[in-house]
């Protein structure tokens, strides 16, 4: 057991770092793209409504 701890403890920061980077990267990518898509959809809706109103008047 001591051997296992002796191997795991020095390596742990690198493994945590690698998995942390991957998860932060993947979640960050999804979060940013969905955020931008949401903003664009909202802007598009506002613009389309304004064009519609213009056409009616």
């Amino acid at each position: 057991m001591m051997d296992l701890y002796a191997a795991v403890i020095p390596q742990a920061p690198y493994i945590i770092g690698a998995y942390g980077l991957i998860w932060v990267g993947l979640l960050g990518f999804v979060y940013m793209v969905f955020g931008r898509i949401g903003r664009l959809e909202k802007e598009l809706r506002v613009l389309e409504e304004s064009i519609e109103r213009r056409a009616k008047s």
Binding site: A7, Q11, A18, Y19, L21, R36, I37, L44, L47, E48
Partner: protein
């Protein structure tokens, strides 16, 4: 503007599979232990490092493919698709480099080693970055698309070289599959790897489609703004 349900399904499934692979890697797949009793815990990085690397190679195929399509047809959409594929490639390339460097530090005791796989992958990283530098340095839209397509096709040549180089030249980088008697994985390790790999490819597809949808929305918005302006 239509949503792409397949991309959303792939995103959900990819997320589930990669999460499952994470737990499988730590709670099911055994760690590698050497005859001298040394335990290789850093091997756990392999389950995600290799899938992101494979995803970077596979997504980069689309840069070359759409580059060729653009040069054949001169349709702008293919240039957009090639650019988005390269963006997703860059994302996976950076993750591969970061996880690889951490693994190298543990296993080889150094942050970097100029051996064939690392060197060719480093060149690939520079080529992918150079693709965007090139795009940003050309103002004319048509010329930019032509140069970027040609560059993307040429840059892609490094991907198979980087993939196969460990089989052609002496390299200290591990060859997990097809590397002779010492290569290969035991069943639980192989299943964990496959789950992570399939999940990562699903995420790669979803990321590409989501970015494409974002670009389509942006183009539609620009068109409407011009329409209102008129």
């Amino acid at each position: 503007m239509k949503r792409n349900p397949l991309a959303e399904i792939m995103l959900g499934l990819g997320g589930l599979l990669t999460t499952a692979a994470f737990f499988m890697a730590f709670f099911w797949a055994p760690g590698t232990s050497y005859p001298d009793g040394r335990v290789d815990f850093a091997q756990k990085i392999f389950y995600f490092h290799v899938p992101v690397a494979e995803a970077s190679f596979l997504v980069f195929i689309f840069t070359a493919f759409y580059g060729i399509r653009f040069l054949m047809t001169r349709e702008r959409i293919y240039d957009t698709k090639a650019r988005i594929a390269t963006e997703v490639t860059l994302f996976f390339v950076l993750l591969t480099m970061a996880t690889g460097i951490l693994w190298t530090r543990v296993e080889w005791g150094v942050w970097w080693q100029w051996e064939p796989r690392l060197t060719t992958y480093f060149i690939l990283t520079l080529l992918v970055i150079a693709y965007f530098v090139l795009r940003n340095s050309v103002e004319d839209e048509e010329k930019r698309a032509v140069y970027a397509s040609a560059f993307g096709i040429l840059a892609f040549i490094d991907a198979p070289i980087s993939f196969f180089i460990t089989r052609w030249l002496n390299s200290i980088h591990p060859i997990v599959f097809g590397g002779g008697e010492s290569s290969g994985l035991e069943t639980s390790m192989l299943i964990t790897f496959i789950v992570a790999q399939v999940g990562m490819l699903m995420l790669g597809y979803a990321f590409y489609q989501l970015r494409l949808r974002e670009e389509e929305l942006r183009e539609r918005l620009e068109a409407l703004k011009i329409e209102i302006g008129d």
